[in-house]
Subunit: 457 residues, 2 copies
Amino acid sequence: MTLEPVLDRIDAELPAATERLLDLLRIPSISTDPAYKAECDRAADWLVADLESIGFQVSKRPTPGHPMVVAHSGGEGPHVLFYGHYDVQPVDPPELWDRDPFDPQVENLPTGKVIRGRGSSDDKGQLMTFVEACRAWKDVHGALPTNISLFFEGEEESGSPSLVPFMEENAEELKADIALICDTGLYGDSTPAIITQLRGLLGEELTITGPNKDLHSGSYGGIAMNPARVLAKVIASLHDEGGRITVPDFYDGVPELSNELAAAWDDLKFDEKDFLGEVGLSIPAGEKGRRPLEMIWSRPTCEVNGMTSGYTGDGFKTVLPSKASAKISFRLVGTQDPFAIRKKFRKMVSDMIPADCSVSFKDHGAGPAGQMSTTHPAFEKARDALSDEWPNAAAYVGCGGSIPIAGYFKTVLDMDAMLIGFGKDDDQIHSPNEKYDLSSFHKGIRSWARILHNLTQ
Amino acid sequence: MTLEPVLDRIDAELPAATERLLDLLRIPSISTDPAYKAECDRAADWLVADLESIGFQVSKRPTPGHPMVVAHSGGEGPHVLFYGHYDVQPVDPPELWDRDPFDPQVENLPTGKVIRGRGSSDDKGQLMTFVEACRAWKDVHGALPTNISLFFEGEEESGSPSLVPFMEENAEELKADIALICDTGLYGDSTPAIITQLRGLLGEELTITGPNKDLHSGSYGGIAMNPARVLAKVIASLHDEGGRITVPDFYDGVPELSNELAAAWDDLKFDEKDFLGEVGLSIPAGEKGRRPLEMIWSRPTCEVNGMTSGYTGDGFKTVLPSKASAKISFRLVGTQDPFAIRKKFRKMVSDMIPADCSVSFKDHGAGPAGQMSTTHPAFEKARDALSDEWPNAAAYVGCGGSIPIAGYFKTVLDMDAMLIGFGKDDDQIHSPNEKYDLSSFHKGIRSWARILHNLTQ
């Protein structure tokens, strides 16, 4: 089967493909908020119907959380399993969006057209690049170039609680020759990238309780313990002066960057002034003495993702709060053990709580870092395909984010995974005004069409 | 004019007086929240109508914020000016209330009847004790026992921005022989108290900005400055290990307790185990080496009243927040200068902000501590009246709260002020499920009837 007519078809079909994506983006499938459970289900149904229209055998599979969508083409050739997620992040703060996050549209910017809306880049727009590539192959040749399965999750933005049990229960069905994951970005604007290392993630929520109710800070201030002060002390103690994380044994399993990788990354000429300037910053804020790229790709972190206590509305309320809580996440690298770190973090925090306060913890997911082996021949084939599509040759890069699925493909299914995506640094994923460049969408579809072609060569 | 029939009338009129209070409590006059502006106005109108029905000359007086209500009886005898406030605190968190905070009712508890609802104790229930005492005198004798003015404010819970300008502009009209303020409590359950010292209050809100938008903590975590970490560090640095506040020169003007006052307070046999046990605590958390009563009456404090950053909803969001903010209040004593402290606090915080972050401040009011002179003969007359009404003799005590009006009566109008109130420690003012004991309301009305009588003797 020839590639060229498929690429032509993709070009011709772009307006219709964009409409389909807009349709999917209109479904507010926020997985972390129980209020949107039915919407997550609706997004799964949408995918089932769309994949059936391409000729896949599709099933929506219940889990204790949101459903999985699994589809198979059958057929000859190497068997690839494509993964994406149909759930999206919450939209807070809504007032910072220039438009309704779930009323997406194509906007004309000076830099080109973008698809604006929650999930456009993370990950609905990306997963649809692969679906559209399949549709084009099918439309042109009446068949797919190889044996393709798709596996869509609806819990990626809420810690993927059902993922591993589902993979274990359905290992036979999901196992393929190679996994493809589209949830990452380009390197810069025009260099396609295959991720070879990903940080892991440990999510923790802690709530410190002092008095058994909110108190008047006049009547009780000075004699009653204030849990907001205790929480501040805990958070302030999580990093030392040099930016290192103080949880005991935290750095066990954190490897030093190899000379080879250090040289390869230096070749990428990462411009931290540009990268930080884009978001109003200028100074790399991580551990002293580390390369900026190390700070985001190969060093572990501890970040406060949310924090609340007492009265946070307009005006002022002289309350001495009963509770203070924070959501804290750790990005992990190398062989850091998220479960060991959780245990030590909780002990460290508990040891800091004064006699009159108590602390409780809530688990928000834990996944180790991922290290891809690039020896599978699919890696070089994909790299060639990407280099053919884009102005610059494809690069092997690291990624600061956490896509635990990549590790699970290895540990649960013993498959290698290729992480290829077309997002850009300014896509504002997880933030207000998320967008996906129309060129990312278009060239992304073309990239997958090429990769599928190369894999069969 | 005789006292006894007035007291009888108060007893007989209690059910009707309670209904009137419930009516006023139904108006959600939350002054700090602009959404309730019309409700504040409605509460002022309610008072105007009620005072007119007693025969006062009443006016509702506009201010840049919420209106003042001023009423005069005219007539012979010493001229007293009674102050109260008709605005109330916000109700957050609403889910912790056992009933709608603005659908008040009388509840039968094992310990006696209570009036439950926002504002029942702070301050609508208290201000109505005086109004009802006036009504009883008028009903029985056709006149008040002395020359009475009333002065009700609607901004006490939001920093009283209009108070001093209004007092200055209307000094002639407001000036009387003595001011009476009903916004404080009993000492313990059955000892009436006249407050002779009050802490001042400085309210500050600070917002630290790091990145110019919320970021993905995977893409940026480790390289981008997190303002929640900066805020935690600022808050953690406000107290030293001994519980002392670290703002430079903060303790300028903080007096040591006199031996005489120390002895008088020791006589009160304050039981900190009981006081703290009531709210689920057990250990006095203030400066090391200070008496528990000092911690709440005569030592300054710094408390976090509210704190927020990033994602605080259900579930988890791996955001690296753009902003982190806190509401912080200082309780002041002696001659501490709130404006000097504001300046030094802001400088200290600004000096801690790293190069890539900025901080902005918002002023939420500033008032010095108050020290009453008890040489005015009204003090002893009131003390006798209170001792006649209650099981225990009245005491001169301190107060941890801040009622700046007391200081303003002295500084703006050169009047002494007597702070007498009937709230209890367990009234849960500023908290969910605020209540006012029906006995506080009843004996409070009787107390004012007695005080008015004694003042004319």
